[in-house]
Amino acid sequence: MSILPFPSFLDDVKEKGFRKALMEGIDQTVERLTAGMNIQDIREALRGDPPSRRPNPRLSPHADSFWLHMRPGYFHRDMTGIYPTFRLGWLSTYFVVFETITGILLMFWYTPSPDIAYGNMLNILSNVPLGQFVRDLHRLGAEAMVLIVALHMMRTWITGSYKKPRQFTWFTGVILLVLTGLLSFTGYLLPWDQLALWAVTIGASMAEATPVIGEQVNLIVRGAPELGANGLLRFYLAHVLLLPVFLFIFTGVHYYKVIIHGHSLPPRAENIGEDTAKRVPLDKRVYFIPDILTNEIMWIGMTTFIMVVLCVWFYHAPLENHADPQVTPLGTTAPWYFLWIQGALKLGDKFFWGILFPTLMIGILAVMPYIDLTKSRRYAHRRVSLSLAMALVSFATILSYMGLPEFAVSTSAEIEILHEMTMEPAHNHVGKMRTVPYAQLVPGAYTTAQIGAADPRAAVEAFNAQVTSTGQYAQMRERLLADHAITVPSSFRVVPDDAPALKKVLEFLHHHIEARHKELPNAWGAIIIAEAQSTLKRVDIVISWDGVHIENGVVQTDANGQPLFLTTIDANGNEVVQRRVDAKHVFLHPDSAYFD
């Protein structure tokens, strides 16, 4: 007879005693939570014993539970190792989850507005415990995900796994590849620093090359003729809402197709034209519970551990200065995974190389399984296909190289050298002058004339006399004052012995000027240090040289191979070589801690 008006645990206790009733209650709860496995079943699975009851309880979670119904009950043993998948598909999925979690954490601290976004980044870095760490994880995960998804595609191509019946799986995979690239690209803009603004500006520059509706497309993408408040909001919404929704949908479709058709076996494991992935012999079955499940959890641990180690010691997400549409940094590039488009753009027409070519590349990839109808997946039978794969990799690499500023972008020598000396930290690189310890920034004027001289003091004395008599000093002084210099010392001096780092930078300047002696004939460089505030130094870098005619980065020469100098008429009416001077400066504070 029941104590309560309905059957309850108390009835069980009355009937069986407390201990037994409790154990049975727990066992039943576990069985409900696992959708079919009780404690004994779990214990057997984790011990590696065969299941002791029939039907096999380890299969019922796959039939009855939501999460495991997506996963097959067993895998083909040939598919459980590194080869042939290299676990790239699994890793892609891992990073989708990883990026979602770290991304949501970052969303708590971010507002997509040009007025606030950069301040949010500073806050994340300076005021949010583990803020920098989570941002590093998210950024590194994003870059890793692009790479892994691309590798996953190459692997599928190489093992011929896109062939019938998996054509549509491949097709959705190409969509996922594009979505991954776009997700990474839209995220690139969000910190609203110089790196973000200019990389995205270049990446989005193709939009306006769209025929007929280029202007409209550009407006839709950027929200205005140039990236601003609307553009940032659009990129943000695409990054956190639109693209993830499509990514999750297509990930679902993609994985559904993978399970429907089974993981494609190594090419040699089956006869040509056969697809035996779904017919797994009993002795080849590796059950999800417990083997694959424990394996995957171990992989989650290992991959996360590797990401954490990288972000603790080896990788920090870059943050440059606040985005400034008026200041274009020298050597701006698109994100590395879009460099190939930037390279292609250098080949010519913006519409052809910027729009048609990438669209064609993606399009051809997407329909490849419907074009390549050959049956064999054996490597030996697919020489053309594999050659094409290698050609694609080589082509992308070459185009990416061409996308770098080193390729076919000519900047005049003095601008490049001054940039090398003074640049703000960008692309893991910082101006040489900024690496000199503050204590070694001894006020004074120093010249490259002392470098390599047997007697530096005499060399500097001679240099002082020379620049004064030729008017080069006066020219330099005028240039620096136009730059709002604080003071310009009247003579140069030898670098003090207790400033070896300063001397090294002077040598660096000297060698760079020497290396470009064709464009910078009879040149000298100078470093002028002045005290701006008691804890702030101003450093002016000067290059003075004889002007030569330069066209397309090439020094023009006369019939004898002598350079054609720029000339001017002096006060006496004589034609003389035009002396040129350029300068750039930095301010340095002891706390700013730039590292080379």
Partner: protein, 445 residues
């Protein structure tokens, strides 16, 4: 038949389930240990980041200051005579060379004042008591009144060393050498007062006493002088954001304009913060010396010129239509003298606005220089095919009414205010054009 692959390639990396479980546990524990380790180090890392960010902010601020502010405030922030006040200036940072002496004097002067007040109150009380005694209040009350009057007499007399007059005399004896010392100190600051330090000092010295002390307490500190309730950072920030409307009255036509984008200027808020950080880095705390004070070229001016207040009816503003404006302007004769006064902010326009064109159009740093505007328009700008067939008047009117439509390198777009269509009448424009043209005709020096 496929050969069985072994080891890493063919099978689960770790074959035994215990191995996998162990490996997974080790990895998760490793993650937790590392994250914990990062978390422990976070306060130090965040503090280091703040230091580094402040350092870099000061560097960027120095850059912005050199490019935007140094023209008026000097390359080292010491100000330029009759142009703009110093920021590298102990007065701005509230360092008074008269303290603590002035504070000591003030404390004693206030004590003397308090004692004098007590004396007059006691006097009044005694008078009242005498008056009451005269009304025959009865013996008890009379005895009480007598006792009280005797007590007051002791306090007001000179026999008791603690009596009020004696205490006042003692304080005044202390004050005398201190005030003399302060006079010497004030005389020694003459070099600075010549440059505008402590305006109104002469009048305050003539008044002397507590009035002088209070004047010195207030005016040797820029924030108190300005009546600013916040701290120096907010004072600098608000000045940069909004400018100093009306400052042209004190500075011969040059105005501190609004510099922040939200105030209508060119700089973003983070850039304003950079400049403020740079200016605050001039602070020397207690280490300011009189040398620093004497190095200042120009101190703040407070004077506002009443003659600048507008009078007369407002005229019609010119509007945005350049062609219509050209027709209206051509029909008028320009007065270069009035044009110059408008240009320099010395006179109001007919629409009662005050412009300060010369604040930026000087020296050719932030904007093209005034002297060459007319000749450059004729020789260079009109030679540009974009301006083909236009008259110099048209070019100048278009440049004033639509400043962003045509930008001359190396100047930036968006710097020049776009409010002139509402601030100028046709006559004003004609006068400004006449003024600009006068440079080409040799009428200006």
């Amino acid at each position: 038949m496929l050969k069985e692959k072994e080891g890493l390639v063919g099978r689960l990396i770790i074959e035994s389930i215990e191995g996998r479980v162990l490996m997974g546990i080790v990895m998760f524990v490793g993650v937790m240990v590392l994250v914990g380790w990062v978390a422990i180090n976070e306060p130090a890392r965040m503090a280091a980041f703040e230091r580094q960010h402040l350092g870099r902010s000061i560097e960027r601020g120095a850059e912005l200051f050199a490019a935007n502010c140094s023209t008026c405030h000097g390359a080292t922030g010491l100000g330029i005579a009759e142009r703009a006040p110093a920021l590298n200036n102990p007065q701005l940072f509230g360092h008074s060379f008269l303290n603590p002496l002035n504070a000591d004097i003030g404390r004693r002067e206030r004590q003397v004042q308090e004692l004098n007040t007590q004396m007059s109150e006691l006097n009044r009380e005694r008078d009242a008591l005498f008056a009451e005694a005269a009304t025959n209040p009865g013996p008890e009350r009379l005895r009480a009144i007598t006792e009280r009057i005797q007590a007051i007499d002791v306090l007001m007399g000179t026999d008791d060393p603690n009596s009020l007059p004696n205490r006042i005399a003692a304080l005044e004896a202390e004050l005398e050498p201190m005030i003399a010392e302060r006079e010497v100190l004030l005389d020694s600051l003459q070099a600075a007062t010549d440059k505008g330090y402590l305006p109104g000092l002469e009048a305050a010295r003539a008044q002397g006493g507590l009035a002088l002390t209070q004047y010195l307490e207030r005016d040797s500190n820029r924030l108190l002088q300005a009546g600013w309730g916040g701290d120096l950072r907010s004072f600098l920030t608000t000045t940069l954001v909004h400018g100093r409307p009306g400052s042209q009255d004190a500075w011969g036509g040059t105005q501190m304009v609004a510099w922040a984008q939200r105030g209508g200027g060119p700089l973003r808020d983070d850039q304003v913060a950079d400049i403020v950080n740079y200016i605050l880095n001039w602070d020397k705390g207690n280490a300011w010396t009189t040398e620093d004070l004497f190095a200042v070229n120009q101190f703040t001016k407070l004077k506002a010129d009443a003659s600048m207040v507008a009078s007369g009816p407002a005229a019609q503003a010119i509007g945005r239509d350049v062609d219509a404006a050209l027709v209206a302007v051509t029909a008028l004769t320009g007065d270069p003298v009035r044009g110059k006064a408008i240009y320099n902010g010395e006179a109001r326009t007919e629409v009662r606005a005050r412009l300060a064109c010369a604040s930026c159009h000087m020296g050719g740093v932030q904007a093209p220089a005034t002297e060459v505007t007319w000749t450059n328009t004729l020789n260079i700008r009109l030679a540009d095919p974009v301006n083909a067939g236009r008259s110099p008047e048209y070019y100048i009117i278009a440049s004033i009414l639509h400043p962003n439509d045509y930008i001359v390198a190396p100047y930036a777009s968006g710097i020049m205010p776009q409010t002139y269509p509402d601030q100028l009448s046709a006559q004003d424009l004609a006068d400004i054009i006449a003024y600009l043209r006068s440079y080409a005709e040799g009428g200006q020096s």
